[in-house]
């Protein structure tokens, strides 16, 4: 991993006595695409705003490139932000919007002109110099907001739910665009979103947050395949999240039925949570399944069918390319490798937090 660029040390922040961030520790490396992911109110935007200098933490330090910048105002930081809803200046042309930061830094006209055309080129909006922000579509405004930020050659680009206002198709296009930009510019991206799909698609590292705490940090694959707790498992993707008993190493019981797994070291007869991704649930004939159940719902979703199966009163969700008719009795099996065992949250508080989402 390349060198650490930003360190958040013991950051705490509360509003009107309500804690938003509690002793947050986070290191962001050079050229990394880091995504802060979590439900609204989890503290992800506050973290970003602390990085940008729009909020000052109550406690803790922000270290940038080895220097403490906790109290440096936003206009003196070498980071630039792409705001939610873009925050383009409505009374200025696109060119003036992009030139804003450069004019403040008193760059030459020639330099500014070059930068504008370079940036417009980069975001694929050549010839938009004279247009006003109001005449642009959401996606175009988004690109201009990015162009306006990157002409200042920031070391880090902060993005606050930049795609939230776009429709699905555009959002997917922009996701690829952002990855391309990041690779082309070779700078660090810190990205805030509540959309897990977006996070999985773009990030090098995902930081899953909830209620001011970091729940898990890791590569998209790790987060998806090996969630550390029920909150992460539930927040990332559809999943079958069940309470279970860890009977002994490599054996668990779900609702009293034994399943083989690959996890070890959770003790004996310990209550745990397990997660099984819907695509990992195998539907077979009743005699071949580990458990049996009745199909209660069948929904066509394009790539696959979503099938709900009632197993002794617990609903299992599975994805399959083959339809099973509602009312049929089916068998269910799971590859031991696909059962992810997690510790139960320790305090009731954490449990409440996990169940809430």
């Amino acid at each position: 991993m390349s060198r650490a660029l930003i360190e958040l040390q013991h950051i705490s922040k509360s509003y009107d006595g309500k804690p938003v961030l509690d002793d947050l520790e986070l290191t962001i490396h050079e050229n990394e695409f880091v995504t802060l992911l979590g439900p609204s109110g989890c503290g992800k935007t506050t973290t970003l705003r602390i990085l940008g200098g729009f909020e000052t933490p109550d406690e803790g330090h922000v270290i940038f490139d080895g220097k403490d910048i906790t109290n440096v105002p936003p206009n003196k930081r070498q980071l630039n932000m792409v705001f939610q809803n873009y925050a383009l200046f409505p009374h200025m042309t696109i060119a003036d919007n992009i030139a804003f930061g450069l004019k403040i830094k008193r760059k030459t006209d020639k330099y500014i002109q070059d930068k504008i055309s370079y940036a417009l080129n980069l975001v694929g909006l050549q010839g938009f110099e004279k247009r006003m922000p109001g005449s642009l579509s959401g996606g175009q405004q988004q690109r201009i907001a990015i162009a306006r930020a990157i002409v200042n050659e920031p070391h880090v680009l902060l993005l606050d739910e930049p795609l939230g206002a776009l429709d699905l198709k555009l959002r997917q296009d922009m996701q690829y665009e952002l990855i391309r930009l990041k690779n082309e510019l070779g700078i660090t991206f810190v990205y805030v979103t509540h959309d897990q799909q977006e996070a999985l698609t773009m990030s090098d590292t995902i930081v899953v947050m909830n209620q001011g705490y970091i729940q898990q940090m890791g590569s998209p694959e790790t987060i998806y395949n090996e969630p550390e707790n029920a909150f992460v498992a539930d927040f990332i993707g559809d999943s079958n999240l069940f309470p279970a008993t860890f009977v002994r190493d490599e054996l668990i019981e779900i609702d009293g039925r034994p399943f083989l797994c690959v996890d070890k070291g959770f003790g004996q007869n310990t209550p745990v949570d397990i997660v099984i991704r819907p695509e990992d649930v195998i539907i077979t004939t009743p005699d071949k399944g580990t458990v049996t159940g009745v199909v209660t719902d069948l929904i066509f979703q394009g790539v696959h069918y979503e099938i709900c199966i009632d197993v002794n009163g617990r609903e299992w969700v599975c994805h399959s390319t083959e339809a099973s008719l509602v009312g049929t009795m089916v068998g269910i099996a799971v590859d031991p490798f696909n059962i992810q065992v997690m510790n139960k949250p320790e305090s009731e508080d954490e449990e409440a937090a996990a169940i809430e989402k």
Binding site: F54, E55, T56, N71, P73
Partner: protein, 277 residues
């Protein structure tokens, strides 16, 4: 910390206004309160407030309320259909009409009101016109009717503007939806348009009722000095009788009406906007 400091430097911008508002809005009103609640000897007394019950004052107040309510009702009845007609027209045409409605304000209102004298008097333009088309003359000048006439003339724009604004904000799809669900014109008007334009109506009523209640100019111009309104009484106490205590006491009675009005309008205008704006 840093953010707070930044916010504070902008908070300082408000200082001149805060001083101004205290010196020229709050303190003067407190002075009215002081004079109204004390006698000339300086002792606290409600005598000047209760002076409203004197027959002459009570009659003036009663007439003022009556005329002002009449004026407000007439304004509402004239303005609402006008606004309904206007919102269904093109925007460009409407801004021209609204603009035409504002222009007269640039001509001194007293002069315009005074001009009604020539129009309404016995052998004035209106009666000449009525006689030519074979109708009998109207005796309007120097009657309460003429005063209502003048008030409606002066305050009608203040009823039209907020109602038009409120109507214009109604999403046309709501009206389409009402029609779609089977409501006819009157039902849609009564059940959808009227409730949605209520904030505009309320602020229009506020803007018309208070000046109507307290005017002393219109009655002086069109009442020929024969119709005495509460505004005229107060004006005379201050400019002729020099009894500030009595004048203030009667003003406090007016203030009571205004406060009720303010409360009503703030209940209906939660955005904290002036309705006219």
């Amino acid at each position: 910390m840093k953010n707070n400091r930044r916010a504070n430097s902008f908070a300082l911008f408000g200082m001149p206004y805060y001083f101004w508002a205290i010196a020229f809005i709050i303190i003067p009103l407190l002075l009215v309160l002081y004079y109204g609640l004390t006698s000339e000897a300086g002792t606290i007394s409600l005598e000047n407030v209760f002076a409203i019950a004197r027959p002459a004052h009570a009659k003036a107040l009663f007439l003022s309320v009556l005329l002002s309510v009449g004026c407000t009702v007439v304004c509402l009845l004239l303005a609402y259909p006008l606004c309904l007609i206007m919102v269904n027209r093109q925007k460009a045409q409407n801004s021209f009409l609204l603009f035409m409605l504002i222009i007269p304000m640039w001509m001194n209102f007293m002069l315009r009101t005074y001009a009604w004298q020539s129009l309404l008097e016995k052998h004035g333009v209106l009666n000449t016109f009525l006689n030519t088309i074979g109708l009998p003359s109207l005796h309007l000048i120097n009657t309460p009717g003429a005063i209502i006439f003048g008030m409606v003339y002066d305050f009608l724009p203040f009823m039209i503007l907020p109602i038009y604004n409120a109507l214009q904000k109604i999403d046309p799809n709501l009206i389409h939806a009402a029609h779609d669900l089977g409501a006819g014109f009157w039902q849609t008007l009564w059940k959808v348009i009227l409730p949605l334009s209520m904030p505009g109506i309320i602020s229009g009523i506020t803007m018309v009722f208070v000046p109507g209640l307290t005017t002393f100019v219109i009655s002086a111009l069109l009442g020929g000095g024969k119709v005495l309104l509460i505004g005229n009484v107060i004006e005379q106490e201050f400019t002729q009788a020099y009894d500030w205590h009595l004048g203030s006491g009667l003003s406090l009675v007016l203030l009571l009406f205004i406060v009720i009005n303010m409360i009503l309008s703030s209940v209906f205008d939660r955005e904290g906007n002036g309705g006219l704006l």
